[in-house]
Subunit: 197 residues, 2 copies
């Protein structure tokens, strides 16, 4: 018998598949239950609604991904390199998880609840990472002091997010996401760096 | 008696108000009709569905805005300056049209039809403008030849789009959008420019 927590994980995994395949609005809780191998009623023991499943997927995947990025930047020498690692990791996560990317880039955006009510704590934490790397780069004298970290975290996220969405909508074919990451990091870092003489 | 075309325009204007106030999903065609001062049935003479109204708003506003930007960059000396004008105009359009911004940045994204079926011809044309300015800058020797205009148009649009959405969701309070435009243009242009010696 799987423990309770396993069931929850199975439901979330199944929901990613169902949302990616059928779309969030079309997906039915009963389909998720079937894919997870649990009774319909079991789902409601863990989640109040389909929206709550979606938000849980987002929060838990973001939590894992935040941990992964923190570990990856640990070896970087300075804030500039951390920003570069962040850009690479963001797009390589998208490339390696096409189903999850479909759910995050397309389905999630269509949940009214997510857009209007989600507190966004995990997203804030994620954006906070980049802001921190930018500020570190400023303290190290490598990023210009007039660069506004609070704005720039959003600028960089928006750029990556748009490229990721386009990649998903193009059915993953048109882009080399790793190459895109190099160019985006390169341009962003040249843009914010203190001019070298 | 207003001519047919006036009715259509009135319906679209009323729809912007209703969508911005009530949200796209909650909005009812009958509310749009009331706000436009036409009978419910009249709306269906011009539009097949609520989604079609939304897409028409987008297409027509984009068409006007594309014309406006083309006129504005006409006086710019080179591709770099045209990119700067584009960034300024994008965010100043958002600032000057808060209701339309709410519809474009929030409501539009929740239309399944828009996300999955919209051919995006106006959006493509809009993105094509930036790509053209970047290519012009490359021909002028001011933008590095390794910069990928097809990727960069999306990077810049994504950045502006995210900042615009945040501004809308924050109820227009937190940002000075004009100042943000200057910083975004500055960083982007430093990032793509040929290094000066």
């Amino acid at each position: 018998m799987p423990v309770k927590n396993d069931k929850r994980t199975r439901i979330l995994k199944a929901a990613v598949k169902v949302f990616a395949k059928r779309g969030f609005y079309q997906a039915k809780v009963t389909e998720i239950a079937k894919a997870a191998g649990v009774a319909d009623g079991t789902i409601y023991l863990y989640f109040k609604s389909k929206d709550e499943i979606l938000i849980s997927i987002f929060d838990e995947e973001m939590e894992k991904f935040i941990g992964k990025i923190k570990a990856e930047v640990a070896g970087d020498a300075n804030g500039l390199e951390k920003v570069r690692t962040f850009v690479r990791s963001h797009l390589s996560f998208v490339r390696q998880n096409p189903r999850l990317a479909q759910v995050f880039q397309v389905e999630l955006r269509q949940s009214n609840k997510f857009i209007k009510e989600y507190s966004g704590s995990k997203l804030k934490e994620y954006l906070g990472l980049v802001a921190g790397y930018i500020e570190q780069g400023q303290q190290e004298g490598m990023i210009r002091p007039d660069v506004h970290a609070g704005l720039l975290k959003r600028v960089l996220f928006g750029a990556l997010d748009e490229v990721a969405t386009h990649w998903v909508l193009m059915k993953n074919g048109k882009y080399d996401l790793d190459e895109s990451a190099e160019q985006i990091a390169d341009i962003f870092l040249r843009g914010v760096a203190v001019a070298r003489n």
